[in-house]
Structures are given as C-alpha cells and as structure tokens.
C-alpha cells in the first residue's frame, strides 16, 4: 500500500512545486515581457496578463547592456559589484570571528553582551537615517570639517561604503555560534596539542567546517547589499558613486516629474538588470544554503 501511494504523492509534489512556483515567478515573467515594449506602446495600449508587444523592441535590453544614453551603467554596475564583494568579505570574516568568540571563548558578561547585540539587531532602522546623515556630515577631520563642523564630512565619498563593512554582523555571528557549538571542543584541543596556534586553529581547522553556513551568510549579505539603494542614494551624490538600484531610483523619480512620460518598460528592464545578477549569486550558492542551515541545528 505504501509503495503504491508513493508515486502519486511524488507526482503531486512535482505538480504543486512547479505550479505554485510558476505563479511565484509570474511577476518576473511579466517584467521580462514588458521589457520588449516601446514606451509609446506600453503607455497607449491596454496591457494584458501576458503582454505581447505588437512591435517588439530590444532597445531596453540594449540600454541595459550597453549603457543607456544618460546613464553610465557600467560605472553603476562596477560600484555595485565592488560594494557587494567588500561587504560580503567583511560579513564572512566578522561573523566567523564573532561566532568563535561567543561559542568558544569564556569571559565575564559574554552571554549578556551577546544578548544585547542580538536585541539591537532587531530594532527598526528607519529612525537612524537622518542621524546617520548628520554623523557622516560632521565626521571630524573629513571633507573640510574642523572638528565637528564645517564641510561635508564623509558624505559623497567612498568612506560611506567602506565604513559599514567591518561592523559586526550579528545575525551571522549568531548562526556561526550555533554551528560552532556543534563542533566538539576536542577538535580545538587536539589541534592545540599538535602545536597549532589560534590563528591556524581558526582558519585551517574550524573555518573549512563552517563553509556551508558561511555560504548562507555570504548570500544574504550579498543580496542585501546588492539591493540596497538607501545608502548610495542618501549619502552620496556623485554619479561615480552610484550603484544600480540607486541609479534606478533617481531615474524613476526624475521621470516622475510633471509632464514627463514615465518610461515603464525602461524602469522594468533596469530592475531586471538588478535582479538577474542577484539570481546568479543565489543559484551559485543555493545548494550550500540548506546544508548550512541544517548544520546550525538552531536550538531553540
């Protein structure tokens, strides 16, 4: 009876996963199809659930690849990649070291400190945008500041991006801590009795064991940075410092000025341009993710 029921249940599994999956994908399919429209046709015709343009155009996709007339897409792309790589690198490093500290080292107030950090991670950040702007603008000795007043501080410089990287990644630390606690401490001791120092223990013995959870941390950080438009939009002005999402924000907001015809197909295509690299990042890492999360065996 079991054997008989097995196959239909698998078929059902395929059916549901694929069927619902396609529904989930639908907005993206719509975006891709809309990308083939010209501005005029998209504005003046009635758009159906599966919009097929009468006069399909590749202009939007060309603009995405070759750079549109007004936008230095290559620069935005480069900035997005650099920023994502930088933040991901630091997230991996800080999560791993932080996880090690809270999982292995023993010192007074450790649990309390960890709890405090964990709690701060959960609070809303909207309120911090204006204070952050003020802090950046008043950054001492930068941008013509005397001590706290005067110039632009670090606004509109690369420091806006660099300063964020080395900060502790608390959720990552939490996950590494959980994962490390499943590694028997004998491993550390064996390594030490073999003469390995902390440095070797950390990076040659413990780190390779944590690769799956590192993949998870890397991808969440990479995606978060890749999609973040607030930091570049708010704290920088120069075109040379913009990233893809912030450039799109500008583009769509300038196009919303009165009298301008909103170029939906163009905005949609640029959005796809942001999404596709993010998807590639995910495809690359996805098989590690489940493994990594399972390894943490989050107890709780």
């Amino acid at each position: 009876m079991f054997a008989k029921r097995f196959k239909p249940s698998r078929a059902l599994g395929h059916l549901v996963l694929l069927g619902v999956g396609l529904v989930l994908l639908y907005p993206l399919i719509f975006m891709i199809m809309a990308g083939f429209f010209t501005k005029q046709e998209f504005t003046s015709s009635v758009i159906h659930a599966f919009p097929v343009p009468k006069e399909p155009t590749l202009d939007n996709f060309k603009a995405l690849l070759a750079g549109s007339t007004d936008a230095a897409v290559t620069v935005y792309f480069r900035n997005s990649v650099l920023r994502t790589a930088y933040n991901t690198f630091w997230a991996i490093l800080t999560s791993f070291l932080g996880g090690y500290v809270f999982a292995r080292l023993r010192f007074k107030g450790r649990d309390q400190l960890f709890l405090l950090l964990l709690a701060t991670q959960m609070i809303p950040t909207t309120i911090a945008i204006i204070p952050t702007y003020l802090e950046f603008a008043r950054f001492p000795f930068f941008g013509g500041n005397h001590v706290f007043t005067g110039g632009k501080g670090i606004l509109d410089t690369w420091w806006v991006y660099l300063i964020g990287g080395p900060g502790i990644n608390i959720m990552g630390t939490f996950l590494v801590k959980q994962s490390l606690e499943k590694v028997p401490i004998e491993l550390d001791e064996a390594a030490k009795s073999d003469g390995a120092g902390t440095f070797r223990l950390l990076f040659q013995i413990l780190f390779p064991l944590q690769l799956p959870i590192m993949a998870f941390i890397a991808i969440t950080t990479a995606l978060g940075t890749w999609n973040d438009f607030i930091t570049p939009f708010f704290y920088t002005n120069s075109d040379s410092l913009q990233t893809l999402p912030s450039a799109i924000t500008r583009l769509s907001s300038v196009m919303a000025s009165p009298g301008a015809v909103i170029n939906y197909p163009m905005i949609i295509t640029l959005s796809l341009g942001v999404t596709i690299p993010a998807l590639l990042i995910f495809f690359f890492f996805q098989k590690y993710i489940v493994q990594g999360l399972a390894n943490t065996g989050i107890k709780g």
Binding site: V101, M122, T126, L134, I163, A294
Partner: protein
C-alpha cells in the same frame, strides 16, 4: 596535571569553567582566563566600534529624540520628557498603527510559515530537480521591493490593471482595491507571503533535514504511516527550529513598511498604516522627529521584549538538550 585538589575547587567555584583544560597553577589559571577575555576584546572591539559608528550611535540618537519636541526644520529640539510617549498612547493614529503592526505581522508570519512548511515537506521528498524548485521559490526574495511593488501596482490598477481587465473580460465588475481596507490588507499579505515563502521553505527544509533519521526508521518499524510519522517524529523534531523561525519572522513582519508604502500608501483614509510606516512619515514628511523617535522606542521595546523572552527560553532548552552531549564528548 595531578593537583586534583585545586582542580576540584576550581570546578566547584566555577561550574562553567572549561574542565578539559585543567590549569596547573592559580596564576596560570588566572592568565588563561585573561587570555580568553583579551582575545575576545581584540576581536570584538574593532567590530563593535565600526558597528557603533554605522548603526549604533545613529539609532541611539534617534531614540533620544523621542524625549524632545522637534517639529519642522527650523525648529530647535526642546526637551519634554515623556510627553511624546503620552501622546503616542492617547492618539488613536499611533495606537491604531501599533495594533495593526502586531496583528498584520502575525497574519503575515502565520501564512508565510504555514505555506512555507507545506512547500518544505514537498521539497524534502526525493524528487528530481528539487534544486530547481528551491531556486524558483526563492527567487521573489531576491528581487527588490521597489521594483516588484511597481509590478504589483500595474496588476492592481483599478482601470487598466491586469486583474481588473481579466474581471471585465469575464463580465464581472472591476474591483476598486485602493478604497477597500480588506483588499489593501489582503494584497499587503499576498505580497509579503510571495516574497517570504521561499525563505521560510528553505529554513523549514533545513529543519527537516536535521531531524534524526533513526527516529523515522524506528517509527516505520512500529508501523507508522506518513501522517503518523509527521505527527510523532517530524513535528516534535522541528520544535526548536520552529521557534527560531517563528520569532525571527514575526520580528521582521512586525516591521514591514515598504510594501505598505508602495502598495496602499497607508490608505484608504490611513486605515492600513502600520507603525514603522508612521515613523517614516513622521520623520520625513512632517519632520516630527520627536514622535518618530518615540514611536521607534516603543517598537524597539516590543521587539526587544520578544527577543529576550525567546533567547531566555532558547538558552534554557539549549542547556537541556546540548549539555549532556558536550559532557559525553569530553568524557571520551
């Protein structure tokens, strides 16, 4: 390594001390303890300093504003104690938004986690190409909120929207989504679930795969069916990870505002405003930084209470479940 007396007293005095290291002398033990703390300091202090610079200080500053009256750019902040908080709990705009944050967050969490669990059960079957399914389901989480809410709005356009065009083509009356609180909430939930279900499924899947396989075999020997195994092995085995998923999802769902901003913009008549949306509006539109700070503090208090409650509970059960394993390991 044979000064048993000293080792014993140490263990008695500090039950948490690493028994396995067996320090020989008092001073050495002292240094060992310091070494851990110093190493921790060397690693943590730079990271925490950078973290404070980027988010710690600005957030703290924002919170402090909750105790000031500061309305308008030209105004200068004036200390008013708890007045903003009193106003918060008197004004139905704020209490309403707070209450909505809580139940909307609960609704989003519930629907996301249930549908994610169903998907994870299916993904856990030995299906061909499940990696592809995983990816497809996770894709919405990868997309940017600004872009995809625009697409949702194209669908929901009352006049030319894809859905209303469809309704009209089958002879039904179009629906004015924007002037119905029910539909507004409905689409916020749909969008949030659309974006969150893949991530939830991944977490559940990780949980399912960490359940001890021996237990399934034992259950099969006992003649348990699929349903019985789910009820007696899977669900109890998932309990720890379930709490983690539930709490983290709830905390992020309580704080949703981008989908509210872009889909309903708080309307109709402010009936879909949530608290973080209110903070955003107070901060940027009305430049009422005092109320924005006060509201943030209330939100933070709620979230921190949930976190501390969860963590306290988690560490308790942690000790219950993992300590014996560690002891076992050390003994061997």
């Amino acid at each position: 390594m044979n000064r048993d007396g000293k080792t014993m007293t140490t263990a008695a005095a500090m039950p948490n001390a690493p028994v396995g290291r067996q320090p020989q002398h008092l001073w050495k033990r002292f240094r060992t303890r310091h070494r851990d703390a110093m190493l921790a300091a060397v690693i943590l202090i730079p990271m925490i300093v950078f973290w404070l610079l980027l988010s710690g200080f600005p957030t703290l500053f924002g919170f402090l504003l909750g105790f000031f009256r500061w309305v308008g750019l030209a105004d200068s902040p004036a200390f008013i104690g708890f007045d903003n908080f009193v106003h918060f709990f008197k004004d139905p705009v704020y209490t309403g938004a707070l209450w909505r944050s809580i139940w909307l967050g609960g609704l989003v969490t519930g629907v996301t986690l249930l549908s994610g669990f169903g998907a994870a059960l299916l993904m856990n079957m030995p299906l061909k190409g499940k990696g592809v399914y995983r990816s497809i389901w996770y894709i919405p989480a990868v997309t940017s909120t600004v872009a995809t809410t625009q697409i949702f709005n194209l669908f929901l356009d009352t006049n030319n929207g894809v859905i209303n065009n469809f309704l009209k083509s089958i002879g039904k009356e179009p629906i004015v989504w924007q002037y119905s609180v029910g539909w507004g909430i409905f689409w916020i939930v749909v969008y949030s679930v659309w974006k969150g279900v893949g991530g939830a499924a991944l977490l559940w899947l990780a949980g399912l795969q960490s359940v001890d396989h021996n237990l399934y075999e034992a259950a099969e020997v006992d003649g348990a069916g699929t349903w019985a195994k789910l009820r007696n092995v899977t669900i109890p085995g998932l309990k720890p990870i379930a709490t983690y998923i539930f709490i983290t999802s709830l905390i992020s769902a309580i704080q949703i505002y981008e989908q509210v901003l872009f889909i309903t913009n708080g309307g109709p008549y402010g009936k879909t405003e949530v608290l973080v949306f209110r903070i955003y509006r107070d901060g940027f539109w009305d430049f009422n930084l005092g109320m924005a700070g006060a509201s943030s503090l209330v939100m933070a208090a709620i979230v921190i209470v949930i976190t501390v409650f969860y963590y306290g509970w988690a560490t308790r059960s942690d000790r219950r479940t993992t300590i014996p394993v560690k002891t076992l390991g050390r003994g061997g």
